[in-house]
């Protein structure tokens, strides 16, 4: 077993990149329970631990609910904690996730997107992350194996920041990214240590220690509850500028940037824009280039920060466009549209009334192909010309 002692490029799966990143961030406690398609992450971490290159308490729990509670308590005791899950596991953590968020416990969690229970699809889909959107966690979603590596490192920097102190989920598409092998640059351990060193210079956060009479988890009654909720909301708002700042720091340290909350691609002079997230972004970029060749002035917005929702940056990117399409790999029950679409529609006061189209594609490992995205762009273009359009379209 060799481990990166110097910056090197390796062919890693998305899961492998997630595990390497976690190891480089030196967690004190890792809580692990297997689930497809996440298992490789915790197997890899177990191997690092067995080989003595990951010096942590590796807690092999008996379920995801316990994984979340172990991680939460370990951070409240003063440690750095990491866990990873997916789908059924994520929803099995639901009560514990509220606990973690309510305690402002800076846990970092990987969620490998997979369809949740009910229709038993062992398949990719983002419905799992949508189901926990109001649990008070910060949620990031990424596009590539390198971005999994880099965003996991940024997630620790963000979660433990004194101004934030919130748990963070890094989401990536199961199958499309979890098992996709790409070349990934692994940073030096020293570089990651240096990048995260700023966290040690902050004012200390309160931690639970023997002999120190400090309660963790008091009854929040009346205004006590309201105060903590308001503070949580304020911290969520601070995540937006902080992520931009952290992204810039990351670029200075590692030479890669992901434009913070959202990434705009050829939107500047675009008439129409497609908004999406996750692994579909790569395909969409290719199709946007092809459509540009054909003379269609189309741009692309990639959502990286899902919670808090990047209201300001997304509004800026979409303002003045003639029509907007939003591609979701999940659905918003009761709204007959995709969740990202639903949220983007909430920006109407900022961007004005223009045709807005919802595309639902890629459920249960159905490939979001170049052809599909071509159809979507054609639809948006038609709507921009003032022609009738279908508000919600399921593909294929």
């Amino acid at each position: 077993m060799t481990v990166a002692s110097a910056r090197e490029t390796k062919v890693l799966t998305g899961n492998g990149a997630a595990a390497y990143a976690a190891m480089l961030c030196r967690p004190d406690v890792v809580a692990a329970y297997p689930i497809t398609p996440q298992s490789e992450v915790i197997e890899q971490l177990a191997k690092f631990h067995a080989d003595g290159v990951l010096d942590c308490e590796y807690v092999t729990v008996e379920g995801e609910n316990s994984a979340q509670n172990v991680a939460c308590a370990a951070t409240m005791a003063g440690g750095r904690a990491y866990t990873a899950t997916s789908s059924y596991g994520l929803v099995y953590m639901y009560d514990a996730m509220f606990n973690t968020a309510g305690y402002r416990a800076p846990v970092v969690m990987i969620n490998v997107n997979r369809e949740p229970p009910g229709i038993h699809a062992v398949c990719s889909g983002q419905q799992d992350m949508i189901s926990v959107r109001d649990s008070g966690w910060v949620q990031l979603i990424v596009e590539s194996c390198q971005e999994i590596m880099d965003t996991t490192i940024m997630a620790f920097r963000l979660a433990e920041d004194y101004d934030i102190q919130l748990p963070v989920i890094v989401n990536y598409d199961g199958y499309y990214l979890s098992f996709l092998a790409e070349s990934v640059e692994i940073p030096f351990q020293q570089e990651v240590d240096d990048y995260l060193a700023v966290l040690k210079d902050q004012p200390p956060r309160p931690v639970l220690r023997p002999g120190v009479p400090l309660g963790c988890g008091s009854h929040g009654m009346g205004m006590g509850y309201v105060e903590l909720r308001k503070k949580h909301m304020a911290a969520m708002e601070r995540v937006k500028p902080k992520l931009e700042e952290i992204d810039e720091e990351f670029e200075r340290a590692f030479g890669r940037s992901y434009s913070g909350q959202v990434e705009e691609y050829r939107t500047g002079d675009a008439d129409i824009v497609l908004v999406t997230s996750g692994s579909a972004v790569g395909t969409a970029r290719t199709v946007v280039d092809a459509k540009r060749e054909e003379g269609v002035k189309v741009g692309l917005v990639k959502i990286r920060l899902f919670r808090p929702f990047p209201v300001q940056r997304l509004s800026e990117a979409l303002k003045g466009k003639k029509a907007i399409g939003v591609l979701d790999r999940s659905i918003a029950f009761g709204w007959d549209c995709g969740p990202l679409y639903q949220e983007t529609r909430g920006l109407t006061p900022e961007i004005g009334i223009v045709p807005m189209l919802s595309f639902i594609d890629g459920l249960a490992n159905m490939d979001i192909t170049e052809e599909h995205i071509g159809w979507m762009i054609d639809d948006i273009n038609e709507a921009a010309q003032g022609r009738p359009y279908q508000q919600v379209r399921w593909l294929p």
């Binding site: 008996e62 172990v70 370990a74 003063g78």
Partner: protein, 313 residues
């Protein structure tokens, strides 16, 4: 003070510190749980970290907003997350080289029902902690509903008596034995009527928790839920021991041992006739309960004999 010391010299010897709980806390009048909490705190010392959940003990352990009723470090968690949260705490302390005794303190509903998975998992991993179940045989805080600790025949708000209903129609889960089957370093039962025995077990649990998991199951009547007078909970505890309804034993490193011999056990009816939740039981139903008590005692005696442990009581 000197006179008080003379009356209970052995129990007082186990006290590590003054009472860490404030007077006038929000427990019911005559609550055995209050005595249990104060006792555990005094015997285990003020440095212990309590882990608890929404329950009867929550109003006192959790505190409200920035107000607290005790001076212990305290971690509140969901009922599903006690064994796991305590694991998170102890594992971090081990990693950081911090010496700590983490003490989970929950009711039977949490440990035997909704939090059982996390408890069983923590025991199987042999996490270094003490887990204390205060067994009041049901969900008392939410209005006296049945749990898996509710005994056969007991009337609760979800097993009420009526034209057809005769109380709970199944027996309780034999939780301390279930925990012993996890092969953890230490398991014991305790009763608030036998404080000296209880104190010894707490002290032993604290030592054992340095190696691994220690589990204590404490008999803890609820005056409201059991419909007993507010001055009777300790007598009910004593009757439970004397009828073998709640035998006192310990398991240490696989060896079982009775810690309180009951030479001439009374019939279980001696206990049930003083407890309102059993008042409706007919003779044949009492026989079912008695048979369960006898069966459990035989199992326990067989385990004691099999491990050839000596009885010191």
């Amino acid at each position: 003070m000197a006179e008080q010391r003379k009356r209970q010299p052995k129990v007082c010897d186990y006290y590590q510190n003054e009472d860490q709980f404030s007077p006038g806390v929000a427990f019911c009048s005559g609550c055995a749980l209050e005595l249990n909490l104060r006792f555990v705190s005094r015997v285990l010392g003020k440095d212990i970290i309590f882990v608890g959940t929404p329950s009867c003990s929550a109003p006192v352990l959790h505190g409200q907003n920035v107000e607290a009723w005790h001076r212990h470090p305290y971690y509140a968690c969901t009922m599903t997350g006690v064994g796991s949260s305590a694991s998170g705490l102890t594992r971090y302390y081990q990693k950081a080289g911090i010496e700590a005794t983490v003490v989970c303190h929950t009711g039977d509903g949490c440990s035997q029902d909704v939090g059982f998975q996390a408890l069983s998992g923590a025991a199987e991993r042999n996490e270094k902690m003490i887990y204390i179940t205060y067994d009041n045989e049901g969900y008392m805080n939410t209005g006296i509903q049945r749990s898996s600790a509710t005994p056969f025949g007991a009337s609760t708000s979800t097993t009420p008596t009526g034209q057809v209903g005769r109380g709970k129609n199944t027996g309780s889960k034999n939780m301390p034995l279930v925990m012993a089957m996890h092969d953890i370093p230490y398991v014991a039962t305790a009763s608030l009527s036998h404080l000296e025995d209880y104190a010894k077990k707490l002290a032993k649990a604290k030592e054992k928790a340095k190696e691994g998991f220690a589990y204590l199951h404490v008999f803890c009547p609820c005056v409201v839920g059991w419909k007993i007078p507010t001055d009777s909970s300790i007598q009910v505890c004593r009757d439970a021991v004397r009828t073998n309804y709640f035998p006192l034993w310990e398991m240490e490193g696989g060896d079982f041992r009775m810690t309180q011999k009951v030479p001439n056990p009374k019939a279980v009816e001696e206990l049930t006739k003083t407890v309102g939740k059993f008042k409706h039981l007919k003779a044949e139903e009492l026989t079912v309960l008695q048979e369960q008590v006898d069966m459990r005692l035989r199992h326990l005696q067989a385990l004691c004999a099999a491990t050839a442990a000596e009885t010191d009581a």
